[in-house]
Each structure stands twice: as structure tokens, then as C-alpha cells.
């Protein structure tokens, strides 16, 4: 079946099977391997991407459901001039990852939060991020990174 959608700000058209998940299309057809797949049952959050600004698990979200929508993956987050999104920079600055396998999903989930709530409280961060598992860090540096990014984005907005 034919699928057309906006992917990281650009229009895309491709053929896919009805059973193809968004993660399969992104990884296998489009070579966008930044979206990681782990649990495959929508529990770990590693495959989180944004569809019309809402975080979804690409491992179970059928590709055709994205028709006509805006899909944003980790590959679309970097600015065209190569500078990083404040969340990406904050994850580096706060050592908010180790193996890095959960990181793209973590950053996309956090982006959805900050887009909706630019100044989240610690409890709001924890509540929003509870669907993303990290096995390496113990979460504390990830919370710090999201707080740092929020402050950075607020500052950017002011200037």
C-alpha cells in the first residue's frame, strides 16, 4: 500500500505492507536506524518517535496509521546547521546515557513533554517519562538533563 507522510520536515512516499510497523519502515526501508527497538510490546519506550507531536511506540504503531501525518524521529532533531537540539546537548552535558540504546526514545519522549510544558516540575518529568526504561543510568542524570534543557530553551526563547 502507498504511504505518504511528512518525515522530519520533508514529504515522503513509499510502499509498505499493511502489517509493517512504523519502526520497520523507518529502520528497514528508510535506513533511519536511530529509532531503536527493544521490548516490542510498547513497554520500554526505546522506539519512541513523535507523530503530530504525540509520542508513540514505533514498534507497535502501524506505518499506515502515519499517512498524512508529521513524523519526527531522532534524526530530525539536529538543526540544519549541525548544532544540537538543547535536549541533545543537555543529555551530553549531564551524562544522561551510557550504552545509548534508550537515548533516542528518551530524547523524543522528553521533547514531547517540553513542547507541551516548557517548565515541568520534577514530578511532572518523572510522570511523563515513566514509560521509558533506561537500564544503565539510574534515571537521575536524565531528569537533570531534561531540567537543564528546559532552562536552556527558556533562555533561548527570551533572547
Amino acid at each position: 500500500m502507498n504511504l505518504s507522510f511528512q518525515l522530519n520536515g520533508k514529504p515522503w512516499q513509499l510502499d509498505c505492507e499493511p502489517a509493517d510497523t512504523l519502526a520497520e519502515v523507518l529502520r528497514n526501508q528508510l535506513n533511519l536506524n536511530g529509532t531503536k527497538v527493544s521490548c516490542e510490546v510498547q513497554v520500554c519506550g526505546a522506539c519512541t518517535v513523535l507523530v503530530d507531536n504525540v509520542p508513540v511506540s514505533a514498534c507497535t504503531y502501524l506505518a499506515y496509521e502515519a499517512r498524512g501525518k508529521n513524523v519526527l524521529t531522532i534524526e530530525g532533531l539536529e538543526n540544519p546547521d549541525g548544532t544540537l537540539h538543547p535536549l541533545q546537548q543537555a543529555f551530553i552535558d549531564e551524562f544522561a546515557f551510557q550504552c545509548g540504546y534508550c537515548t533516542p526514545g528518551m530524547i523524543m519522549a522528553a521533547k514531547a513533554l517540553l513542547d507541551e510544558k516548557p517548565k515541568p516540575t520534577r514530578d511532572e518529568i518523572i510522570h511523563h517519562m515513566d514509560g521509558n526504561i533506561c537500564r544503565c543510568t539510574g534515571y537521575v542524570p536524565i531528569v537533570a538533563a531534561i531540567e537543564r534543557a528546559a532552562a536552556l530553551m527558556a533562555k533561548e526563547k527570551q533572547s
Binding site: R27, L32, N33, G34, T35, K36, V37, S38, C39, E40, V41, V43, C44, A46, T73, I74, E75, L77, E78, L84, Q88, Q89, F91, I92, D93, F95, F97, Q98, C99, G100, Y101, C102, T103, P104, I107, I125, I126, H127, M129, D130, N132, I133, C134, R135, C136, T137, G138, Y139, V140, P141, I142, V143
Partner: protein, 760 residues
């Protein structure tokens, strides 16, 4: 080796940003799951539904006739290779042969044009089994009428430097036994002023590396090439060499970034199977397990421990005795070493003059157990540190003071025959206790504890490296250490930059390609900073020595006239940086100098363990008496790391380890009901999440430069896990007065214990 003062460092001991930062936050970091080779096929595995059964027949004709299938491989298609592997003993067939030994064991593999086709064809394989009696616990495996899991005599694997003799395959279900003994335990217990005795259970746990096991193999005339998520490519190479009967040089393991290991990717897992698939299908083959399949591949050893500990009238611990039964599952994997380590780790970090520890691991019809962060230590630290608190309570002492009074002291040879203790437990315990407000009043229902761990690191000193200094002054480190997230790609460049005086940003790491990077035994047991770090330091210094000779040649002076300065050399007025030395030597701005280092069990690495891995953790919890639910109020970790090459990374390791330990203390447990693993999916296996993180966290490092590694560094990253389950059990006792001798302390267990106490 003289140790430089902390204040003198330019690059090390600074929390520089990770070298793998940018690729990991942009989604560009490549893991094996992301790789594809031209002409690559995909494999899927058929697994046994039975725990123990004879294979009567396998009919693969329908699967082989399925469109898109290249071949179907079974244990009966392996003539021409040696299908049994294992680094301790070769007890593990790459596909079941004659019988299956656990529910979930690989029986056949389909190789097809894509994963979906392979998956469809797996359903078309018809296997007839004859069910056999099965055993699931060590106690059942020891019974006189227990069925024997393994009938063969095993060949030994590549595990060298192992102190004991592997006992597996001697006509019983005993996989490994280990015993340590000194003093006179019976006499000491008779003379004791107080004794605590109890039975403890530490559960089976699953490491959940978020990247499940994955490998791509290509077997052809050149030999065997495998891209794998393995932690120890050189150990896996040895298994593959033996399966295919090839010279070492014909087997190449390549490991890109690994998506989490925690010991679960130690040693060989699916590589022989995927290589056999490639060999049969005559093309590259990729096999990626699902998380559910990964849970059927490796778990930690669960342990039943009977332990007793005695004190004299002065509060000095005088004796400890334990009998441990560990459940290694269907195959030995690394359990022989886990048994040895858990036996030793019953003692530390206390100086006890009478000790008797007897430990056995048993084959059972369950998922094979192997390494898990801290191998064997958490299993015995639950009883060990529980008994310290129980004893302190019994004799009316503060458990923190009681620990201080008995902890091994710096330089003390508290474990006969082993390296004297190289940590500072007093400072570790002080720091941890202070962080959680030791001694201050607590609200009702709250408990506060401190615990410690000191384990004989399993790191065996056999490591080599090459450092290439290029003509522009940039540097490439060739290392066999794998980047699992622990930060080897950051720490090793920091050491090279410190020594060579080149910018940190100009040092790049090439890692874990057995055809290119020099031999490193493994990436585990907290060894990389200490052993590979030492190799990088020595290789950098060796490169400098070579460049001094080159500089003398270039400047036409005697070598003795050359003086080294940071980043180069000086001779009178002339000063040359490394780029100038190399360029002038070759008379072109090209070429390089290769520094080398070989670390072996000699010199400062001759005494084992190469270091004691020491840490203290402390926590405050609250218990909801209505529900039994535990809340983590505070957590403090103290890593006794000698010197942190990158303090932020060292603290991150401690917090990650403590969080895993907290998970085991609170809710992580693989549950078997009969033959079946009941919670073999992330839907059912409860892991720590954001909402579980302690309300307050403090991370501390103790840096006395007392290790044998670079600048006095030693390993970390396991020890904060080890004491957490005991910490939580002790805190529950302190909060609500119930003693639970089993992990995890689920709300149900706490609630039942409270109910039982009220009923008394």
C-alpha cells in the same frame, strides 16, 4: 611505579564529556542491530516447549519447502564441525542434540530471505519429543532419584586463570563445587558470645540489556567473521575457533557499540548458532533475538544460602560459615567462576579468623545462568550484610559502628593468599552514613541503613594494546575493550592524552575487532580502567621513548641529550612537538609511531585479585504498613575507586549499579512455575522506572590513589549493586521490625511478614 598527585593532572580526573556523546544523542551510533551486509539472510529459532525431553524426530521438509527459505538447520545437520561450546566446559550444543534440557532451548533455526519468512517457516517444523522427568531447583537436582541432565564427559574450554578444577560432567548434576576454609569454625562457634544463623534466597534475575542478543555471521573460505553484541570478543573467538577447527587468525569478531551488557553479554551466546546458519546457508546470516528469547538465553544464578556468623564478647566477628546451593540451569556457561567468586565473597570485606564456606552449583532444567554484574557477590551479600545487622542488633551495637570495628583495614591481608586490602572502608562507610544523616531522628515507619561490599575482582591480567601516534600529532588507540556504555571510549583517550600531552579531542579509539585490535581477555569484572588503562598508559610511554630516539636522530644529538616536555621534546634551544618529530623523522608529513604494551600476571599485577572492588551504599526507606510497599527516600553511593579517571562516569556507574541492586531488592525476580518461566517478558518482569528513583540521591567517590591501575585507579561499577538487597532488607527490619531473608522484598512479602508479626 610512583603515583602522581591528583592536583597534577591535565586530562584525567576531570569529568570531560563522553567521546561517544554526539553519535549517541543523534541516533547515529551503530549497534549490531543496525548493520546489514550485502546478500544477508535472516534466521529465526524454534525453541523447545519441554524442560527435559528426548528428541524423537525432526521433520523440516515443510519448512524447507516454504518459499523464501534457504535452509533449516538442526542439531543433526552439524557433521563437520564441533557443535559443543563453552568457555568453562564444552557442554552446550549450538542446537539441541538428542535431547532438550530446558524450555526455550534452541532446537532448529530457519534461514530465510527475511525475518517474517523465517518466522513463518519455524511454525512448519515438526518435532516429536518424549518428555523426561525434569528438575528445577538445586535441591531437586541433588535428589538420589534425580534425572541426570548431562551424560557426556566434557572437554575443558578456554577459561584459564581459573583457580579451581571444573567439576562438571562427573556423573552427577553437580556443575561446580568450591570451598574455602581457615581457622577452626566449630571451636569458634562454641566459644561465641552471640551467633546469628539463617536461610536466605536470592532470586534469578534478568539483566535486560535493552539491545537483545544479536549477531551477523559470514562463514566462507576466508574463515569466520562475526559482528556481535558480545562483551568479550576474544573469548568468543576461542569458542568459534574450536567449533570450526580453525586457526585463531581465521576467526574475526567485530563488536561495535553494545546496547548494555551488565555481564549478560559476557562469553559466547548465539555466535556459534548464527555461524552454523551461515555455514549451511552459504551467505551472511543475521540472528536477532527478541527480548523474550533473550530471557530464555541467560539469567543470573539464584542462590539458596544457609549462613551463620559469630561474635566474641568484644563485638569482634570471629567466625562465618555458609553452605550455598546455586542454580546454574541447563548449561554451565560462566557459573564455575560465579561459584568460585560467590564463595570468596562470603567473607569480604571483614577480617574473620575462622571461615568455612562450601558452595555447589547444580544443573537444572531451567534457563542457563551466567555472569551478572558483580558475579556471585550480590547473591551472598544479601545473607552476609543481613547477618551483620542482625548481629549488631543482637548485641546492642550500632550496625555502622559494628561494621567499622570489623571491616578489613587498608593493607590488611584479611583473605589468606590474596592481595592485601587496597581500599579504605572506614572512609567509605563514614561518607555513606553521613550522606543519609546517620544518627538523626527518623519518622515512624522509616528505616536507615548502611552496608558495604569488598569483592575480589575477577579481572585476570592479560591485556595488550597499541597506540598509534600520527604525523599530525593525533592518536589512535587500538583496544580490545568493548564500549558497553561504561565509557572506555572516553577514559582511555583521557589516559593517552594525559601521557602524550596531545588534546583529548585528537585521540580516537578503535575497539574490539579481533583481526585488528590487540588481545584483551574480556570487558568485564570492572577491569578496563585498571588493566586496559594501564596498557594505554604504558603504550603511550613506550611511544614517547621511541619518539625520543627519533628526535635524537633528527636533531643529530645523543639520546641522553633529549629532554621530554609535555607533548614533545626539547634539546637546548630546539623544541619539537610529536608531529614535528614524526614528520622530520620520515621527511614527509606522514607516517606514524606505534607504542605497545603487554600486561600480564607479573610485577604489580602478580597478586590476585588485581584489586578489591570496594564500595558502600546507604539508604533511607519508608514502609507503608497497610500495603507493604517500600519507598526509597534516600540513596547514597560511595565508590572506592582509587582515582576516578572521569569522576562523572565513575559516579554514573555506581548509580546504575545501585539502581539494578535496588530493583532486585524491591521487585525483580524471574519466576518459574514447573517447566515454564512465568514472567519471561518485559510486560511481566518488573524493572526500575523513573517513578522508582529515590527521592534524594547522593553520589560520592573515595579517591586515595591506592589501586594498581593508572595513577592509583582501580575498578568500580559492580560493588554498589552488591549490598543493595541487604540494605533494603536491613532497612525494613529497622523501619517496621520484620526480618525478611529473601529478595525481592515485594509489597506482598513485606505485608505477609507484618501480618505474621502482628499475629504473634
Amino acid at each position: 611505579m610512583s603515583v602522581e598527585k591528583k592536583s597534577d593532572f591535565h586530562v584525567v580526573n576531570h569529568s570531560l564529556p563522553r567521546r561517544d556523546g554526539r553519535v549517541k544523542v543523534t541516533g547515529k551510533a551503530q549497534y549490531v542491530a543496525d548493520l546489514r551486509l550485502i546478500g544477508m539472510a535472516y534466521a529465526k529459532v524454534l525453541r523447545s516447549p519441554y524442560a527435559h525431553a528426548k528428541i524423537i524426530s525432526i521433520d523440516k521438509s515443510r519448512a524447507e519447502a516454504h518459499s523464501g527459505v534457504y535452509c533449516v538447520v538442526t542439531g543433526y545437520d552439524l557433521d563437520g564441525i564441533n557443535p559443543y561450546y563453552g568457555h568453562a566446559v564444552k557442554d552446550h550444543p549450538l542446537l539441541a542434540i538428542d535431547k532438550v534440557r530446558y524450555a526455550g532451548e534452541a532446537v532448529a533455526a530457519v534461514v530465510a530471505v527475511d525475518e517474517r519468512t523465517a518466522f513463518e517457516a519455524v511454525e512448519l517444523i515438526d518435532v516429536k519429543y518424549e518428555e523426561l522427568k525434569a528438575v528445577f531447583t538445586p535441591q531437586e537436582a541433588l535428589a538420589s532419584d534425580a534425572p541426570l541432565l548431562h551424560q557426556r564427559q566434557f572437554e575443558a574450554g578456554a577459561l584459564r586463570g581459573f583457580e579451581g578444577e571444573v567439576t562438571a560432567g562427573k556423573g552427577t548434576n553437580i556443575c561446580q563445587t568450591h570451598k574455602i576454609q581457615w581457622g577452626d569454625v566449630e571451636k569458634a562457634f562454641k566459644e561465641a558470645a552471640a551467633v546469628i544463623e539463617g536461610d536466605y534466597y536470592f532470586p534469578m534475575t534478568y539483566a535486560y540489556a535493552m539491545e537483545p542478543y544479536v549477531a551477523i555471521a559470514e562463514v566462507n573460505d576466508q574463515g569466520v567473521t562475526i559482528y556481535s553484541s558480545a562483551q568479550h570478543p576474544f573469548m568468543v573467538r576461542h569458542d568459534l575457533k574450536s567449533v570450526f577447527n580453525l586457526p585463531v587468525s581465521s576467526v574475526r569478531l567485530i563488536v561495535p557499540f553494545v546496547g548494555g551488557g551488565y555481564g549478560s553479554k559476557s562469553y559466547t551466546k548465539i555466535e556459534p548458532l548464527v555461524a552454523a546458519c551461515s555455514w549451511k546457508a552459504k551467505r551472511p546470516v543475521k540472528l536477532q533475538l527478541t527480548v523474550e528469547e533473550a530471557m530464555l538465553t541467560t539469567r543470573s544464578d539464584d542462590a539458596y544460602t544457609w549462613m551463620r556468623t559469630a561474635v566474641d564478647k568484644n563485638g569482634k566477628i570471629i567466625a562465618r560459615q555458609a553452605k550455598i546451593l546455586m542454580n546454574t540451569g541447563a548449561y554451565a556457561e560462566n557459573s564455575p567462576l560465579v561459584v568460585e567468586k560467590s564463595t570468596n565473597r562470603c567473607v569480604g570485606p571483614y577480617a574473620i579468623s575462622n571461615v568455612l564456606i562450601e558452595n555447589s552449583s547444580l544443573y537444572t532444567n531451567t534457563v542457563p545462568a551466567s555472569s551478572y554484574r558483580g558475579f556471585g557477590c550480590a547473591q551472598v551479600t544479601l545473607p552476609g550484610e543481613s547477618q551483620i545487622d542482625e548481629l549488631a542488633k543482637k548485641i546492642g551495637k550500632d550496625p555502622y559502628e559494628f561494621r567499622l570495628a570489623n571491616a578489613a583495614k587498608p593493607g590488611e591481608e584479611f583473605f589468606p593468599g590474596m592481595r592485601p586490602f587496597d581500599g579504605t572502608l572506614k572512609e567509605d562507610l563514614d561518607t555513606a552514613a553521613k550522606a543519609v544523616g546517620w544518627g538523626k531522628p527518623l519518622p515512624k515507619g522509616h528505616g536507615r541503613t548502611v552496608a558495604c561490599s569488598g569483592s575480589d575482582a575477577g579481572a585476570y591480567p592479560l591485556t595488550s594494546t597499541a597506540i598509534r601516534v600520527h604525523a599530525d600529532g593525533s592518536v589512535t588507540i587500538m583496544t580490545g575493550s568493548t564500549e558497553l556504555g561504561q565509557g572506555s571510549h572516553t577514559v582511555l583517550p583521557q589516559i593517552a592524552a594525559e601521557e602524550l600531552g596531545v588534546p583529548y579531542e585528537k585521540v580516537r579509539v578503535v575497539s574490539s575487532d579481533t583481526a585488528i585490535t590487540p588481545y584483551d581477555r574480556s570487558t568485564g569484572a570492572s577491569r578496563t580502567t585498571t588493566l586496559m588503562g594501564s596498557a594505554v598508559l604504558e603504550a603511550s610511554r613506550e611511544a614517547i621513548q621511541q619518539m625520543v630516539v627519533m628526535a635524537a636522530d633528527v636533531l643529530k644529538v645523543k639520546v641522553e641529550e633529549i629532554q621530554t616536555v609535555r607533548g614533545g621534546v626539547r634539546c637546548g634551544e630546539a623544541q619539537l612537538n610529536w608531529s614535528e618529530v614524526i614528520s622530520k623523522f620520515y621527511a614527509l608529513p606522514d607516517g606514524e609511531v606505534i607504542g605497545r604494551a603487554y600486561i600480564r600476571k607479573s610485577g604489580r599485577f602478580s597478586a590476585l585479585p588485581v584489586f578489591w572492588e570496594a564500595a558502600a551504599t546507604a539508604c533511607e526507606i519508608s514502609v507503608d504498613e497497610e500495603t507493604g510497599k517500600i519507598t526509597m527516600e534516600k540513596l547514597a553511593t560511595v565508590g572506592d575507586v582509587g582515582l576516578a579517571i572521569n569522576p562523572a562516569l565513575a559516579e554514573g556507574q555506581d548509580l546504575g549499579a545501585a539502581t539494578m541492586g535496588m530493583g532486585i531488592g524491591l521487585f525483580e525476580e524471574l519466576i518459574y512455575e514447573g517447566a515454564q518461566l512465568m514472567n519471561g517478558s518485559i510486560l511481566d518482569y518488573r524493572l526500575p522506572r523513573f517513578s522508582d528513583l529515590p527521592k534524594e540521591v547522593e553520589l560520592h567517590l573515595v579517591q586515595n590513589q591506592d589501586g594498581v591501575g593508572p595513577y592509583g585507579a582501580k575498578g568500580g561499577g559492580e560493588a554498589s549493586l552488591n549490598s543493595m538487597a541487604a540494605n533494603i532488607a536491613n532497612a525494613v527490619d529497622s523501619a517496621v521490625g520484620v526480618r525478611i531473608r529473601q529478595a525481592p522484598l515485594t509489597p506482598e512479602r513485606v505485608w505477609r511478614a507484618l501480618k505474621e508479626k502482628k499475629g504473634r
